[in-house]
């Protein structure tokens, strides 16, 4: 929403020019809404001068260029002049002629149209051998309109407009234009007009604003006699029309043009400009149709009215684009066809042009939700949409239509003829006043403002307020459709009073500890353990491509799919974290990181996991880790990559005081989480204690590895961290410290090549427990080696037993006896399982 100080000043009793721009902008920011941009037009046009063309001759070496000598009354310094003090310009415009006034951008000045973007600074330049000192500007270069066929012809309308005058002052463009963030006013239909913002500026400066009389005269009667109807009052709360006959279409007055230019609206002709002018002033959009063009589109009597479109109907818009309508669009139509997309844009077929003699002015109000839906559907975002979708007051229709009609007749001549009003009896005061107690307002603001002061703050912006002790009966003015509840009144009072004046105080609090979120704490514990183990935490997108899913063997039909993804790269909610991590492996190896461990803790979503009590997809809380190393860093002798991932999982178990069970698979598990893993080189991870399944660990599919360019040595795991969290602390590993010297014995057991180490480890644990239960022994074990002689059918596992007696020193014989007992137990059991 662009707000022009010059324009607002015409309607404000507050001297806006007397307030310094900085102060004005600061107070708007503090008490009205965020300022997006401030455009100082005085700066933009400060170097542009009005000049007179004294001589114009053809350029000797060009058919199209002219050599012009211009007179600027010697206002510009440092420019090369001829003996007569005139400046030479080379100009390609067809409309240059001796004696005309034009706008000159001298060397060293910025071309105004480039002022807010990348500024283009002119310099003296040779064109076909002749030097041009700056340029004569087209309306486009001056940022006045899109017109660039010729240079701007400056009309000598008064004494100020003469050679040597500053262009900005002559055109009333010594203005400050403040662009307020539209978002701020989502609930303020009135603030999309100069009047609304000017009123607020008075309010925040503690002054009483007075709207023009015509604006508050809601009892205005519209002429009747024009044939129309409104069958859809829920979509069109009010529909008013006015016919004006015998008008002359011409450029609008300089004053109207300047106002529009200041707020970035390009002047077109007097009729269109006036409709735009009153929209920018009051926030009420209007539209003018060419009466005679409408007549041709009527089968019977001339008539237009609002209706819902029929699906499939077509309409060519003002921009030339033809759209296909649906039954959710409101249109303005004749008895034959739609002629405008209501509240959004007029139609080409009934456009006002230079030949127009008679017009129908439409001023209506539309259902804000319907307008927004249509605007989104057709991708049309116009000034009218911005205003209508905030919910304008229907009371404004007759007010603005009457004023606009008057302005058009004054400017374009002609005579107001027939009109139409769907709700001629609509009145302002049918809303009950909102009752609010000043204590309530003060309790919400933490302030101590008296009821009368509150009333005066509201009255300044034209609320009517009746005060009775602490009770206020507040009636908002008709344009404030946003005020409906007491909290709205609290906001108005707080804002107009000034938030910066409110007392600031912390809420009081009981001494009571907050219970920490155990899940979040656990995640952080996990991160600390992993980062202390050299792993790097990664966060990656929750959305992945179909290609990544299929590369990892996952089924995209199981994934939630976005209907409006930014790109195919971000089309699906991920079903597990591992694919995201795997997609980061190659880039890091390529970047020179030859060995690393990355992990992520995040949520995943999968259709087959079903829904929760709210009917929403269950969110899986997962933790995935991937080890990657290029072959140089991973000598063949170090064995399979699987064990690298396992080293991390065992490390985590040890740190968390738990232990995991690794279970060999006999077929590919039917889980999406398991899909990237090569099942024959993977294991199911379960919690040793509870037996709960935690997830998968292993190496990856050949195809996955190939598609994602994974190195040969790559492995990882993905487990459910909520399950993991439950198993934490299930194991007490504490072993009392040895008081007597300990003895070690190595036991080497021969087992079949495919024998599980885990089985043996279980027996070792068991026998140690048995022995320690019977005797006062302290025994621990450690795996020393797993050796396989080439081509042998068995392997040797060596375990070191460390033992001591809790009461005395263990003798060598005793130690040997214990070790033999263990050894025998193990052999017996291995044979048992083997046979």
């Amino acid at each position: 929403m662009k707000f022009s100080i010059n324009w607002a000043q015409k309607y404000s009793n507050v001297d806006l020019k007397a307030i310094s721009p900085d102060q004005l902008i600061a107070s708007i920011g503090e008490q009205l809404g965020a300022v997006e941009e401030v455009e100082d037009l005085a700066q933009k046009y400060k170097d542009v001068y009005i000049v007179k063309l004294v001589r114009v001759v053809k350029h000797p070496d060009s058919d199209k260029l002219s050599l012009c000598l211009i007179d600027d009354a010697k206002q510009v310094k440092n420019v090369k002049r001829n003996a007569d003090g005139l400046v030479q310009i080379v100009c390609g415009a067809p409309n240059v002629k001796v004696g005309m006034l034009a706008a000159w951008i001298p060397p060293g000045a910025i071309v105004p149209s480039t002022f807010s973007g990348k500024p283009l600074v002119l310099e003296a330049k040779k064109l076909r051998g002749k030097t041009s000192h700056g340029m004569l500007a087209s309306p486009k270069e001056l940022d006045l309109s899109d017109e660039h066929e010729g240079i701007l012809e400056v009309p000598a309308k008064n004494k100020q407009v003469k050679a040597g005058a500053l262009f900005g002052s002559a055109y009333g463009l010594d203005d400050l234009v403040i662009d307020l963030e539209n978002k701020m006013f989502t609930h303020r239909p009135d603030c999309f007009g100069m009047l609304g913002v000017a009123r607020e500026l008075a309010g925040i400066n503690n002054q009483q604003f007075e709207s023009p009389d015509w604006y508050t005269a809601t009892g205005q009667k519209i002429a009747s006699g024009f044939d129309s109807k409104n069958d859809i009052p829920s979509e069109v709360p009010r529909f008013t029309l006015q016919v004006v006959k015998g008008i002359e279409v011409k450029p609008s007055s300089q004053e109207i043009q300047n106002s529009l230019i200041a707020v970035g609206s390009k002047p077109i002709n007097n009729i269109v400009d006036l409709t735009n002018y009153y929209m920018h002033l009051t926030a009420q959009p209007t539209h003018a149709f060419d009466y005679d063009k409408v007549k041709k589109l009527c089968a019977g009597k001339v008539s237009i009215f609002p209706r819902l479109a029929k699906t499939g109907e077509k309409l060519q818009l003002l921009t030339g684009k033809t759209i296909e309508l649906t039954d959710k669009d409101i249109v303005i139509a004749t008895d034959k066809q739609p002629i405008a997309l209501a509240g959004i844009m007029g139609g080409k077929a009934t456009e006002v042009d230079s030949t127009t003699k008679n017009i129908i002015i439409e001023c209506a109000n539309f259902n804000m939700y319907t307008i927004r839906r249509s605007s989104m559907h057709h991708g049309l975002f116009t000034d009218a949409v911005t205003r209508f979708n905030k919910g304008q007051s229907s009371l404004q229709n007759a007010v603005v239509l009457s004023k606009l009609t008057q302005a058009i007749v004054e400017d374009a001549g002609g005579k107001a003829a027939d009109g139409y009003d769907s709700n001629p009896e609509m009145l302002a005061d049918h809303w009950p006043a909102i009752k609010v107690n000043s204590d309530f307002v003060n309790s919400r603001l933490g302030s101590d403002i008296s009821a009368t002061e509150m009333a005066s703050l509201l009255q300044n912006v034209e609320f009517s307020v009746a005060v009775k002790e602490k009770s206020l009966a507040v009636s908002p003015p008709y344009w404030r459709t946003d005020i409906s509840i007491v909290e709205d009144i609290v906001e108005e009072i707080g804002r107009l009073y000034g938030y910066s004046k409110l007392p600031v105080e912390l809420p009081s609090r009981l001494i009571r500890p907050v219970v920490k979120n155990s899940e979040l704490q656990f995640k952080q514990d996990l991160r600390r353990i992993l980062s202390a183990a050299g792993a790097n935490e990664v966060l990656s997108y929750s959305f992945v491509s179909e290609k990544l899913l299929t590369n990892c063997g996952q089924d995209p039909s199981e994934a939630y799919k976005l209907s409006n993804a930014l790109s195919p790269q971000l089309q699906y909610y991920r079903m597990s974290l591992t694919p995201s991590l795997l997609s980061r492996v190659h880039q890091n190896i390529k970047a020179g990181y030859s060995k690393f461990v990355i992990y992520e803790i995040n949520k995943t979503h999968l259709k087959s996991h079903g829904v929760d009590s709210e009917g929403l997809p269950i969110e899986m809380e997962m933790f995935s880790l991937v080890y990657g190393s290029d072959s140089k860093q991973h000598p063949a002798k170090a064995g399979s990559a699987y064990y690298q991932a396992k080293a991390y999982l065992d490390h985590i178990a040890q740190k968390l005081g738990t232990s995991f069970h690794y279970q060999k698979l006999d077929k590919k598990p039917a889980y999406q989480v398991a899909s990237p893993f090569d099942w024959q080189r993977s294991a199911l991870v379960t919690d040793h204690n509870s037996g709960n399944t935690l997830g998968m660990i292993g190496e990856f599919n050949r195809s996955t590895a190939r598609n994602l360019k994974l190195p040969e040595n790559c492995s990882g795991f993905e487990i459910n961290y909520k399950q993991l969290m439950e198993s934490v602390g299930s194991l007490n590993r504490y072993l009392a410290l040895a008081k007597f010297p300990s003895t070690t014995k190595d036991i080497t057991i021969e087992v079949p090549l495919d024998y599980c180490y885990g089985l043996l480890a279980g027996y070792v644990e068991h026998v140690i427990e048995q022995l320690a239960a019977k005797q006062p022994l302290r025994i621990s074990s450690q795996l020393i080696d797993i050796f396989h002689k080439k081509s042998a059918k068995s392997k040797n596992i060596t375990i070191r037993i460390t033992m001591s007696n809790k009461d005395k020193t263990l003798t060598s014989d005793q130690a040997t006896a214990i070790s033999e007992q263990i050894s025998k137990y193990l052999s017996d059991n291995i044979q048992k399982t083997d046979s």
Partner: protein, 342 residues
């Protein structure tokens, strides 16, 4: 698979033989037999090229699929998944975790932890958000009517099932107001922050991400006033920047707060660059008094209780702190970026 061109059928047979004998099975994709077929294409009559080319590609896909079939019965020896290391691995080469100095926690996780710690100390619970939600929690429960223009400011991703990728952590407000409502009956406030991931349908550039983090805060009790909001956030941010900072609010608009504000704090010394007016204040977050409709929707009487809420972006705080130039680094998975954090 059947091929029309006998030349390709022959090639398939010879490739099958080659594959059987190959040690490194993936070398089959580089076989001269395939290369030769590709080199045949330009020699053919133009009319036949397309058909032949299609068949060669089909053949290559078939050959590639052989690699998947052997993926598991690979040349690698089977492993014992229960062992801590592989057969015959010498002690010094056995797997172990990497050097601690290489490790890192993601700067966003670290930041959320830091923020949560302040929240706990100030008496706030810390909660997680959902990453997939519905229209009711994202909009309706927060006083956004259907088709309301306020929805325009939240470019939300939708799923084909009509679900929503939340565009703000406020998607949890209704749930948490309900969850902690019993607090009010015990004379305790509802006080919680929600630091988590949100999504906006926005094109990526150095300062815009479609996936980013916010932390939401809610506070509800009896007689909560605007001044309490300012004081709480000021205290929070002073603690965050480890410096006593002034705060000010400016009017703003959100459908779920009334009145709504934007809060700015005095720019902390650590982030001071110049001395202009713009350098004095840092606009940090949106906030406001919780709209009565939002309280009502959670079963809390807005005449009896009032409260405030705020939402603050996390990446910008981190970017300012470390002078990070590009928001895209956060989710890039680049070790060059990640290893700079501890």
């Amino acid at each position: 698979m059947a091929y029309l061109d006998p030349q390709i059928t022959d090639a398939l047979d010879s490739l099958k033989k080659e594959f059987k004998d190959l040690k490194d099975k993936s070398a089959i994709l580089r076989s001269p037999t395939i290369k030769k077929l590709f080199s045949e294409i330009p020699k053919l009559e133009p009319s036949k090229r397309a058909e032949f080319g299609k068949e060669v590609n089909k053949l290559k896909i078939e050959v590639t699929s052989w690699l998947d079939d052997v993926s598991s019965e690979s040349d690698k020896a089977p492993i014992d998944v229960t062992a801590p290391f592989d057969l015959n691995v010498p002690a010094e080469l056995r797997p172990k975790t990497l050097n601690a100095s290489l490790g890192s926690i993601h700067p966003i996780s670290a930041e959320l932890d830091y923020i949560s710690d302040i929240a706990y100390r100030m008496g706030f619970n810390v909660e997680s958000s959902r990453l997939i939600d519905d229209d009711y929690h994202m909009f309706t429960s927060l006083n956004f009517p259907d088709d309301h223009p306020a929805r325009d400011d939240y470019d939300t991703f939708m799923t084909t099932d009509g679900l929503i990728a939340p565009a703000h952590t406020s998607t949890m407000q209704n749930r948490l107001l309900k969850k902690y409502k019993p607090n009010l009956d015990q004379g305790l406030p509802i006080a919680a922050i929600i630091p988590d991931r949100v999504f906006r349908n926005e094109d990526l550039d150095a300062t815009h991400e479609h996936t980013f983090y916010q932390f939401e805060g809610i506070y509800v009790a009896k007689d909560v006033a605007v001044g309490n909001l300012i004081a709480t956030l000021r205290t929070f941010l002073s603690e965050y920047f480890k410096q006593d900072l002034q705060a000010k609010i400016q009017p703003f608009y959100f459908p779920f707060t009334e009145p709504s504000f934007e809060l700015a704090i005095q720019r902390p010394d650590s982030l001071k660059k110049g001395d202009t007016e713009a350098d004095q204040w840092l606009e940090l977050l949106g906030c406001g008094m919780i709209h009565p409709n939002v309280l009502q929707e959670a079963g809390i009487d807005p005449r009896e209780y009032s409260g405030f809420a705020w939402g603050c972006g996390v990446e910008r705080l981190i970017m300012m702190k470390y002078e990070i130039d590009d928001i895209r680094h956060f989710q890039s998975g680049k070790l060059e970026f990640l290893r700079q954090f501890s």
